[in-house]
Every structure is written in C-alpha cells, then in structure tokens.
Amino acid sequence: MKAWPENLPKVATIISGSCFILFLALGLLVDRFFYAFAVLSVVMPDLLREFGWLTDMDEFQLEASKKASHHAYISTAVFSAIIIGNSGMWMSNPVSSGEIFTLLFVLLVVVKYSSYFIQFWDKKKASFRILLFFAIFWSAFVLLGKHQYIRTILIALLAVPVPFFVLALLSIRFPVFTGIVSTAASILTVPFYLIYFYPRGLKSFVGLFGSFLLLSLPLAAAGISLLTYSMKNRREVSGGKENEKV
C-alpha cells in the first residue's frame, strides 16, 4: 500500500476537521447538543494517539502535537478567564453560550494547528501555509456570504483575503519584510477593532473576538515565526562566515 503523502494532513485530521465543521454548523443551526460532537471530533484523534490506538504519527510529530495542545490549552484557559472576568462588558448585550463556546473552540483549534505547523514544518514554510490557509478561508467566507453586488464582494476580497494571499507569496522571497508587516498588521488590528468598531456598535462582542482570532492571531503567528526564522538564519550565516575565517 502506498504511504499517505507527508504534505497532506493526516487521514484522522481530515475526518475530524470535516466532522468539526459539520457539527459546529449543526450546533449553530439546529441544536447546541451537536457542540458535544464538535468537541469530540477534534479531540478524538489526539485521545486515540494518547492511548496508542492510533499510530499515524512518528515521535517528532507526536512531540509537536503535544506541545501544540499545551499551547492551545494555555491560551484557551487565559482567554476563558478574560471572558469570564470581563463578563460585565457583554452582559448588557446577551451573548449565547453557544457563541462563547464557538469562540473558545475556534481559538483552541487555531492555536493548536498554527503551533503544530510552526513546530513541525520549517518556520518559513509553516508561515506560508498559515497565511495561505487563512487567505482561502477568508475568500470562502466572502464568496459564500450573502452579498448582493459584485462590487461589495470585490471590496470584501480586497480587504482581507487578497492581503493574506500577497503576504503568503511575499513570505517566500522576503521573510523579514513579510514578518514585520504581518506582526505590525496583527498589532494594529487590535486597537482598530477596540477603538473604532466596538464603541460604534458595528461589531458584536462575538464578531470582535472572532475577527481577532481569525485575523490578528494568524497574522501574529506567521509574522513572529517569520521573524524568528530570519533571525536564526542570520545568526547561522554569520556563524558560518566566522568559522570560515578561522
């Protein structure tokens, strides 16, 4: 039997990802009971691996996956504390538990897979894939949205998916520049949402943090990893030159 290509996600990841999207949609549209299945579908492959019933990863992949889960656990815990601690901020505009659940779970999934990619792949390659994934995600979000005019779709595409595509392409040739731009953009989006959108009531609490998770967080992950990649590369090159002189 031919081995499963390394460049593609694992079969278990594809199945669990599809189930996650399906159950999340059912949870939002039909009944929140389906959220339980959404959680199960994401954690199931890791649980099976933990018990040794699923052996589709080697030791390096397992270590990267465990570290990524740890990062996801810490960030979700901190984010939950922030949400609960600042509940007064959104109590006036009631937020359903389903929406809060979706936010926390999206955070967990985004951090887990971004962290896994950065650890497993070369940092530059991982950043390219993260940026490309979110470019495709935002394109699908815009194209599947209920826009009536082509002009609105084009503006929406130019606002988010196109910059993600451009950054993904630039990251191959200009990692330092892309790293700086991505990190700066991720930082700038936070005050932009908090100062501009939120007080004007243009974005709900869920929309605000949802955009932060799916816009600022991937930009920060890709930007920081590109910068660390460039710094390490520079150190290795200068170290090599010094050795040559000796």
Binding site: A3, D58, E59, F60, Q61, E63, F120, D122, R235
Partner: protein, 94 residues
C-alpha cells in the same frame, strides 16, 4: 547538553551540545536520500530534515535505529561537542 550526576540528582550543566553528522553519513552511504532514510527508520522525511538541522533531538531508540541502518556506532552520528566559554557567552546573549 551533558547530564552530570551529583549524588542521585541529575543536573543539566549546559556545557555541551549535540553534534549531528547525519547528513555527512547519508551522503557517504551511497547518497542515501532523506526520503529513503525516513522510510527505513519508519519516520517522516520532515523528521529527518529536523534532526539534520538540529531542530529536533531524536529519542534514544531512533538514534540507535539510525546508527543500525548505517551499521555504525551511534556516537559517530550523534556526539557531544564542548561549547567554548566565549561561545557560551555569545549563545547566552543571542
């Protein structure tokens, strides 16, 4: 990293670093590709790349298995290299 025993306590002194000669060995052994080595060791190609680049330190089992594939002592492929005092300071600053 070197582990020095002090009584029953295991302390990491950080005076040594792991030197990996895997790439050299691969090329010396009939230009064995990363893919082929990964297949023989039962790991992914990315794992071999990461070991060669020093991004991942393999487990004892994997290190021994790789040594067995090359029919060489494990310390020829993975060895400890002493870090000079000046170099340590530079690493600390970096």
């Amino acid at each position: 990293m070197l582990y020095i025993y002090e009584g029953r306590e295991m302390r990491m002194k950080g005076k040594y670093r792991l030197k990996v000669n895997l790439r050299k060995f691969r090329l010396e052994h009939g230009e064995l590709t990363q893919e082929k080595l990964a297949e023989l060791a039962g790991v992914t190609r990315q794992t071999i790349i990461s070991i060669e680049r020093g991004r991942y330190k393999p487990s004892i089992e994997l290190a021994l298995l790789i040594a067995k594939i090359f029919n060489s002592p494990v310390e020829d492929i993975f060895s400890l290299e002493e870090i000079e005092e000046g170099e340590r300071k530079n690493e600390g600053m970096a």
